[in-house]
Structures are given as C-alpha cells and as structure tokens.
Amino acid sequence: MSDERFRDSKLADSHLRDSRDRDSQAGNPQERDSQFSDSPFYDSFDEVAPGHTFLDSKEVVLNMGPQHPSTHGVLQVVLKLDGEKVNGLECIVGYLHRGIEKIAENRTWAQFGPFVDRLDYTAAVSNSLGYCLGVEKLLAAEVPKRGQYLRVILTELCRLASHQVWLGTHVLDIGAVTPLFYAFRDREMILNIFEKYCGARLTTHAFRIGGCRWDAYPDMAREVLHICDDLGPKIDEYRDLITGNRIWLQRTKGVGYISPEDCIAYAITGPVLRGSGISWDVRKAQPYSSYEDFDFDVPLGKNGDTFDRYLVRLEEMRQSIRIIRQAVEGLPEGPVIAKLPKVLKPPAGEVYHSIEAPKGELGYFMVSDGSQQPYRVRVRPPSFINLQALEKMAVGSLVADVVAIIGTLDIVLGEVDR
C-alpha cells in the first residue's frame, strides 16, 4: 500500500473541490508521478484551462467509497461520469488488508485455521472447508465419511446464509428495504444451528484439519431438516416479493451484462459465471467431500444480466436445501475426524485445492517446506477476481447501475483485500 496511491486519490478529490487547488497542483508535475500517471483516467484534468470550474468540463470524477452505504464494505470506486452516465471507473482496494496470507507463514498449519474464517466473513464455513481440504491433500489424509457429510451439511447451510446476506443487501441497493429483514430473519435460524454446533455464529471455525472437531449435537438432524422444510416456502416468499416486481425487472434486466466469453477471459466463477450460461460448478466438476454422492442440479442463466444472476442464486438456494436433506438423511455412523499426529508436519511440496464457495471458486495454493508452518499460503478469492469485471459491466451504464452491479457481483471486502 503505497503512499503515492493515496496521494493520487486525494488529488482526484481536490481537483473537483476547488479550481484554485487545481491551478497550484497542475504546475507541479511530480505530484502526479504515481502508478496512475499513465492511466488515461486522470489525464483529463490537465486539459481543462485554469480558471474553469469543474462544471465546465464534460466529466465529473466521483469518489464512491470507501465510506459509502452500498459498496459492501470499504471498496473505493472512482467513477468518471458524464452527467449520470459512467464513462470509466477504477476500483481501489486494500482498505481492509490485514495481511492474512502473511500471517499464515508465522502460524502452524492448525493455528491458521481460524484466520481463514475472516476472509469471507459471510461464509466462514466455506473458507474453512477449502483450507482444511487443501491441508488434508498435502497430508494425504482421508476424512471419515461421517465427517465429510457433516461438512457438506454445514457448508451448504453456510451457502444459504451467504446467499441470504447477498439477497438482502443487493435488493437494498436497488432500493427495496423490506426483503433485507426477511432474509436476515431466516438467516438467523441457520446461525442458531452454527451456534449450537460450535458456539460461534459468524466466524465459526467449525472444521479442523482431518475432519470436524465436534460430532453433530443430538437434535441437529431434526433441526436441520426443520430448516429445510421451512426455508422452501421462505424462498417462495422472497420470489413473490421481488421477482415479479415491475421496478425490479426494469432495474435488473439487461443491466450489468457480461458475455460468456468475457466471463472466461476474466476467470469469473460462481453464480456470475453460471448466470451467463456456462455450466461450471466445482462441486460437479471436481467433487470434493463426497459431493458426488448427492443429486443436485446446477442452475444456469441465459442472458448474463443481473436478473439472471438473481434467479441463479435463488435456485442455488433450493438446490442447497436438496443437498442438505440428502446429507442429513444419509448421514453415516462413525468417527468425524481422522487420526492425525498432534504436530502436523506435511511433507515438503505444494498443493492447490479449490471448492465452490457461495461467491465462486475459492482456491488455496499452499507450499510446505516440511516444517510445522506453511511456507506460503495463497488464496484465490472469488470476490477479488469477480470484481475485475466491474469495469467491463458498468461502463456505459448509469450510476444507479454501478450500485446494482456491485451488488450482483456479491463481493465481500474481507475476501478482496485479505
């Protein structure tokens, strides 16, 4: 995080605030000597003759964020606007950087487990699953079947919870307040299960390397099935509230279009990719944790717009319920955690393991030097990579669409910045 970057963003601000400031800075070229100096983005300022106010120029630069209600955290989007129309934009990330990947190098393999929960904090269980599976691959450890099924149950519950957060906030961005409360009310039931299972609601640290720390609590099967029965009608309720709404259709259809080719070029994964009609789901393509045992569909969109991605995610919630039901009903007996040595020393080597997190393909690339500590852990965060498409999707649309597109990409800044 260089100081230059901050100085330059401030520069963009001050240009708009007062033309007098600009006069003094325009004659000071070393001020602008930073990583953005070759970007066409900031060049337009120099073309304006001194003495003009910013209203005389055709373009306005608007700093959206990092403190903004609908950038889903501390994302800064610098918008270049012509009236309401977006001519260009640039994402500035890093405000929530905590150096999690670096922390891994100073912890043992097991100690790093809780840290990954803080990546995508709306889907902590998924992060944990990806990390544990990666380390198990490195150790060549086999998780007992019951442990695998338990992991599937919790991960799919977590996907439901994550999609509920997405639904509430995305719809709120587009201006409807009420569905947020409905979604969060139902998410509460899932968080209660997490709380009963492992004591935490958000950053659960539910899994350990080799399996699960705890077995299912006595009433868990009944309660999870109860959620499955309950949530189907609740999803119908969201659908009735939102899907047919005229304003919702107008605001989402054709907004934030991305073609399948572009999706592949940008390495986009998850519901955004499937909304464009490409069938790629890591759970189907490279099954992990016994996903091959379950019967479920991968919902696909046709048009690649915000509305299709909304439908895809809603349908994914239904499929998650299907998976959970099968897993609970077929939950085998036995241990939940593999027998592993107290001190984990994976053999030297490297491994990449990816899972289908709620936001897309979450990958962990891990290098072991044979010691107790990871040599390097690199996370492939789906939010960060999906966010690259924001410019492609938003240029040419209106300010209100940018907000909708940020919502439909379903980013979590904890994961983007790490």
Partner: protein, 423 residues
C-alpha cells in the same frame, strides 16, 4: 379591541376573508403547531408501520411503545453540532433549509381543514399551493449547490429535473378537477374551499365523477405527488444506496432536521391537495345519501368516540403490561396518554365542540390515508433509475393526464348540453 376579537366568532367565513388579523395570527400559529405535531407523529408512525411490515417492532424504549422517540430524536438533532463544509457557500448553505421550510409551510395558508378552518380563502387557491410547493425545489438546488460536493450536487440536479417533469402531469390532473367544479353551478373555481363546496353541491367526490376519469386523475396526481416530494420509489435525489444522502449529505443537526420537517410538511401539503380536490376535503362520508339531522349528529360523534376508543386501547395495553419495576414509567406514561386521549374524546363530544371539530377530523383522516400510502410505498418498492423515472413522467403520466383533461372536457360539455335539452 375585544369586540374586534370576539366579533369574528359569529362569522361563518375564514379569518382571512373576514379580515380579522388577530384570528389570522391565531390560525397561523395553530396550523404551524398542528403540522409540527403531525410531523412528529408521522415520524413515529412511519417507523412503527415500517417496522411491523418488516418483521421487527421498531422503537420501544423511549416512552411506551416508543411514543417519545421523535421528541428524543429532535432533541438530539438540536444538540448535535451543526457542521458546515469549509468550501461551502455560507449564505446559500444557511438559507437553503429556511427556504425549503418556508415554502413547505406557506402552502398551508389556503388548506381548508373545514369551512371556516382555513387561514384564508384565495380565489386561486390551488394555483397558489402548487406554485408555492414547487418553489421548494429551489431550496433543494440551493442546498446541493452550496454544499460544494458531488453527491449533493447530483442529488439536487436530479431533484430539479424530477420536480419539473412531474409538475406538468400533476398540474394537468389538477386542471381536470378544476374543470369539474363548473358542472352544476356553471362557474368554476380554483378556490380550495370552493372546490369542496362544488363537490358538496354535485353530491359527488370528484374521484368518482365521470367514472373512471376522476379516479384516473387522482391516480396520476397520487403518483406525481410521490415524485414531487422525493419519496420512495422516486427518492432518487436522496437515494441512500447511490448518492449517500443526496442533497442532505453535508447537512447535520438542526439544519438537517429542518429539511426533514419540510419533507413531511410537503408530503402533507400535497396530500391535502389530493384530499381536497378528489376526496371531498372536509366533507364527511355520504353527506347526502345518509343526510338528515339524525345522521349528522351520528357522524359528528365519530371523532370523539374515536379518540375515546384510542384511549381505551391505550388503557387496555396498559393493563396487559408486565408489572415490572423497570416498566413503571412506561406504565404510568401509557395510562396517562390513554386518559388524555379519552378526555380529549369526551371534550370532542360536547355539542359546541363536535360540530366544529368534525370537519378537521374527516380532513385529517383523508390526508392520513395518503400519508399511510407513502409509508406503504416505501416498504414495498425498489427504486427507479433516473432514465426510467423520466420515462414514466413524460411518456406515461403526461399523456394520460392530457387525455384525462380532454375527456373531462368532452364528457362535461356533453352533460351540460343534455341538461340544456332536458330543460
């Protein structure tokens, strides 16, 4: 002097018409007070209704059922530091909220809460109200400009464009109602009181005249007035998820609360226009169908009985409250509030009072209906995008309202001609 003051009491016109300055002042104060209390009540009511629609309970802590919450909020806002951005245009920044509040309250000069319960009657009442209320956009644009910041600027520009485009459709539908006033008497009027009296003479609320023409005009007006007051789903000027708080972004403390006051006063003003023009203003339901002295008495009891019922409800919920030491304050508060409402209701049952109060009651009920719709919209709809908003205004509402005006004229002339033939 005393004669001058007491002399008005026997007249049956508004103080403005009677030219009695003392009572004009009293009425101005009363209306100002009433609107302010209305805003405070709306604040509480909106939060409660929204909460219950959104599976929560809303404010519960400050006073019984959060009744004192708006007062606590207002206190907080007054105490809060009043920031002014360093680059702001100080005079304009200071004047913008004043301008908005002034225009919002000015419109109430001609609002008839009853035959005599208006500050004055103007022969161009509707025009005056529309004109004054649309001056509010000036304050909004001033606020956006003076803040010297992009979000407020964009918000105020949106607001300006929005108000201008919806004003046209709004005025067209008003024209239709004004044309209807000329039907039976032959002379039309734009006076707010005259419009209500015309509905009385025609034995018909204008919402149901030439069915469904009047209703369509009301519908156009009801949509346009939501856009005019910048409320959801047309709340683009202050769209939280896009422009942070629009033209209010740089305002805080007391100045912000002035904008808040003006917004709600403006909502009440346009609701009052809608109620006056289409829903019979202060007239009680079915003044002719259920006419006669007996029905008049029965309907005049409704306000008092309604208040007594509210008081009884408060007392009922007081009885259901848990007897906890910590809730004693709330218990006494709610019981006291219920007793106050019941006493107020009993006072309204007095023969001299009830005939004067009933007009205000029915008018308030009709305005309250529109205010409830505002809340309902806000919890239900997503927000329109700017281009869609413009499209609705110009391509949808404007043609409909012009069609309504033409239809009103055609049907009205036909009806008058037929009446001539029959005579």
């Amino acid at each position: 002097m005393i004669e001058y003051i007491l002399g008005y009491l026997h007249s049956d016109v508004t103080p403005g018409e009677a030219g009695n300055l003392f009572w004009v002042t009293v009425y101005v104060l009363l209306v100002f007070l009433g609107i302010s209390i209305g805003v405070i009540f709306m604040n509480w009511f909106e939060r409660k209704v929204m909460a219950h629609m959104q599976v929560r309970i809303g404010p519960m802590r400050v006073g019984p059922h959060g009744l004192l919450q708006p007062i606590a909020d207002a206190l907080k806002l007054i105490i809060k530091e009043d920031l002014m951005p360093s680059g702001a245009d100080k005079i304009v920044f200071w004047f913008a909220p004043v301008c908005v509040v002034m225009t919002a309250f000015c419109g109430f000069i001609v609002v008839p809460f009853g035959r005599t319960h208006a500050i004055t009657d103007m022969n161009i009442g509707v025009l005056f109200m529309l004109g004054v209320s649309s001056l509010g956009v000036l304050g909004v644009i001033m606020a956006g400009w003076a803040s010297n910041s992009q979000y407020p600027l964009m918000g105020s520009l949106r607001s300006g464009a929005q108000m201008v485009s919806y004003e046209v459709a709004m005025c067209m539908s008003v024209v239709s109602a004004v044309m209807m006033t000329s039907l039976v008497t032959g002379t039309g009027t734009m006076s707010m009181i005259g419009i209500v009296q015309a509905q009385e003479q025609q034995h018909m609320w204008f919402a149901f005249s030439f069915f469904p023409v009047g209703l369509t005009a009301l519908g156009v007006f009801a949509i346009a007035m939501v856009a005019e007051t910048n409320r959801a789903p047309f709340d683009l000027p202050e769209a939280e998820s896009e422009l942070v708080a629009g033209f209010l972004t740089e305002y805080s403390g007391f100045r912000w609360s002035l904008f808040f006051l003006a917004e709600y006063a403006g909502m009440m003003a346009v609701s009052a226009i809608a109620a006056t023009l289409w829903l019979g203003g202060w007239l009680r339901p079915f003044p002719h169908l259920l006419g006669g002295a007996a029905w008049d008495t029965a309907f005049s009891l409704v306000p008092g009985l309604g208040f007594i019922l509210l008081g009884a409800l408060c007392l009922f919920y007081t009885a259901r409250m848990p007897r906890l030491r910590s809730m004693r304050g709330n218990l006494i508060g709610l019981a006291g509030f219920g007793a106050f409402l019941a006493l107020l209701g009993a006072f309204m049952l007095l023969p001299g009072v009830r005939t004067r109060v009933q007009d205000i009651f029915w008018f308030t009920i009709k305005v309250g209906f529109f205010m409830y719709l505002y809340i309902w919209y806000r919890t239900t709809f997503p927000r329109y995008r700017f281009d869609q908003l413009m499209k609705i205004g110009w391509k949808f509402l404007l043609p409909i309202s012009i069609g309504v005006v033409v239809l009103t004229a055609v049907i009205g002339v036909r009806q008058e001609l037929l009446a001539l033939v029959w005579r």
